[in-house]
Amino acid sequence: MSRPLTGLSAWLVQRLSAIYMALFTIAAVVLFTVTPIDDYGDWQALWGRPVVSAATALFFVALLLHSWVGIRDVILDYVGWSTGLRLTLLALVGAWLLILGFWILEILLTVVSPWN
């Protein structure tokens, strides 16, 4: 995960993901304001719309990438004195974000699933 996402690409991904998350947050607030949600059916219908679920999936991809670059930056800054500890922390953070990614995917698939 760290090899291709380094230097300029990491810097760019962090900025683009921040812009996307800001725009998504504004759009989500507007959507929740204008769309009346009275029960779980309405809620499920909202997330079942392909545009909403795809945009939400992309939001979480952006969030995970943004988190990875940000936490990686903190580790590179503050754990420069120990290569072993730095790599261990990077691996743990990477693994944790991957687990979160699969968990989010599972939730999103459950919501949009026609059998639910």
């Binding site: 380094t6 230097g7 300029l8 810097w11 760019l12 990686r72 590179l76 800054d77 503050y78 420069g80």
Partner: protein, 232 residues
């Protein structure tokens, strides 16, 4: 006027300490460098610091004055709060008192190859620039390598061996901006990766302390823009 000055002689002192001095005769317009010279001449000849031109051109007397990196020769005593605390530039190995070892700082400077590289055949006349092309170097060429910026940069404190630091990156920007230089791709390639350029988090300590009023933070941003344009 009261001074507290960092003292450390690795040959005799187990650890650094702050020594107090009092200067009774403070003249109008006196700079900190002048005060240090009087203290050295009249009170303590062992006090050690670098200085040379005395007018903010050579960059020798960069030091931490009341918590901010400045040049002693361009810092008026009248603008300093007492007691004036004078320490060496932060984060660097101390050779003695206010003299620090800047080997690493100059290693980074050399690493950005601070000279013009042209591959095209040498013309019969000089490699000329238009006034507009020359203007691109303003705000970059004036750096005197005093190290005030790099040693004020937290990213440089955290990764002094890998992060080039604002001074070296400003020099890199200066040659990237030069219309006569023909080595842009290699210069940008050399700055890729997580450390050399991208440890900069735009904290801007460099810009706030530069005694020449330069803006290394903007220069680093310009390098990023060049990289981006090249990759898009």
């Amino acid at each position: 006027m009261q001074f507290r000055i960092y003292r450390y002689n690795p040959e005799t002192d187990r650890e650094p300490y702050m020594q107090s001095y009092t200067l009774d005769r403070v003249e109008n317009g006196m700079m900190l460098r002048d005060a240090l010279l009087v203290i050295k001449a009249e009170q303590d000849s062992t006090l050690t610091f670098r200085h040379s031109c005395g007018e903010g051109v050579c960059g020798s007397d960069g030091m931490n004055i009341n918590g901010t990196n400045k040049l002693a020769c361009t810092t008026r005593l009248s603008e300093l709060k007492e007691p004036v605390e004078v320490r060496p530039l932060p984060g660097q190995p101390v050779i003695r008192d206010l003299v620090v070892d800047l080997t690493q700082f100059f290693r980074h400077y050399r690493a950005v190859r601070p000279y013009l590289t042209a591959k095209s055949p040498e013309p019969e006349v000089e490699r000329l620039q238009t006034p507009e092309e020359r203007e691109q170097l303003d705000g970059l060429y004036e750096c005197i390598l005093c190290a005030c910026c790099s040693t004020a940069c937290p990213s440089y404190w955290w990764n002094p061996e890998k992060f080039r630091g604002p001074a070296a990156l400003l020099q890199s920007a200066r040659f990237l901006a030069d219309s006569r230089d023909e080595d842009t791709d290699r210069r940008l390639d050399e700055l890729e990766g997580p450390y050399k350029l991208f440890r900069c988090h735009t904290i801007q300590n460099c810009t706030s302390v530069c005694p020449k009023g330069l803006n290394p933070s903007r220069a680093i941003g310009d390098i990023r823009k060049l990289m981006l344009r090249r990759n898009l």
